[in-house]
Assembly symmetry: C2
Homo-oligomer: 206 residues x 2
């Protein structure tokens, strides 16, 4: 990697935790300078605008969050068990996420109006989160593990809204309860309503 | 009501829709002056600070939201049906809510850090929302309508986090789907896992 590109990446990584903790408006140039140990010119040599830097910082933070949530799940063959692990990863694996917590939740609430470019990024992040869960549900259906009556897109939306909603309340309440309740509920829902019922023959075989 | 008190209430009502749409920092004095048709002195004769006005505006907006969500539900005798109606009210009855949407969601995301007094208001709002749902669940258990294994506080938390999380995504996506999915899911959950199973004798009687 060329030196310039390496500096650029370092700025993105450091800016990501500033934007993720303080929001777009709240992230001051002085914060960015302190975090990167660069002057204004040293930062903006690599980016056209604060918005461009915030956008790339968001992409990086979101990539890290998705990798953390899906870590170690590809190896889980059964798709119901894989979805469960993703749900528990959401609660338990936060060390890999850029400081400031879920970048999608931050973006969805911070970029709500006012900043269309960043809002578009938050929407795309939602769709990528949704898309990965939906494709697991589709795989589960094609393998007969997930009940054919389940709508994969609905299931994905339910998981994302439950987890992100609970995370929002965890922050407000400074209590783990909302997220614990959401995770347990989703797990039960997967077991009782999403998992395909085994036929009598299958049950006798196992 | 004395003239001064009447003016004070009018300021609160008008300020509520400004704060609820723009957030605490986003609500400019010029917005508040335009909405109330008063000069700065005319507004702040009645309030010590922007924070005091924002606090009272929030209390008013939240009161309106709760009344709207629980409207027409007290008459529903069966507690499962009452909870369902509250869920559908959340989705469908928005005309009575102060402009800008759910004040609690706005407060939870706007006041997240930085403003401890308003954050405390948001927490109290959450607890009042939760408390009213929990007491319906408790009533349902004491009347044998709700399964004794259900934890009323957990059920209340699940309903609030699902609805508020879905509302947040509805806003981001500008799509009714997340909230539709959450409402349908909660309804099914109430029917399949929360409602007490009728005994054989009861089933035969009906």
């Amino acid at each position: 990697m060329r030196k310039g590109e390496q500096t650029r990446q370092e700025i993105i990584h450091k800016a990501a935790s500033i934007f993720n903790q303080r929001g777009f408006d709240g992230a001051a140039l002085s914060d960015l300078m302190r975090a990167t140990s660069l002057e204004k010119g040293g930062i903006y040599r690599h980016f056209n605008s604060k918005q461009q830097l915030a956008g790339e910082a968001f992409d990086y933070a979101w990539q890290q969050a998705l990798e953390t949530r899906f870590a170690g799940t590809q190896e889980i063959t059964n798709t119901i068990d894989r979805l469960k692990q993703i749900i528990w990863n959401f609660r338990d694996r936060r060390a890999g996420v850029v400081q400031g917590g879920c970048p999608f939740l931050n973006a969805a609430t911070d970029f709500d109006d006012g900043n269309p470019a960043l809002r578009t990024k938050a929407r795309r992040a939602f769709n990528s989160w949704l898309g990965r869960l939906r494709s697991i549900a589709e795989e589960g259906q094609s393998r007969g593990e997930i009940h054919p009556g389940v709508d994969p897109a609905e299931l994905a939306t339910l998981i994302v809204t439950s987890l992100e909603g609970a995370l929002m309340l965890e922050r407000l309440q400074r209590s783990p309860e909302p997220l614990n309740i959401a995770c347990r509920h989703l797990e039960q829902h997967l077991d009782s309503s999403v998992r395909a019922k085994k036929s009598k023959a299958q049950r006798e075989k196992t």
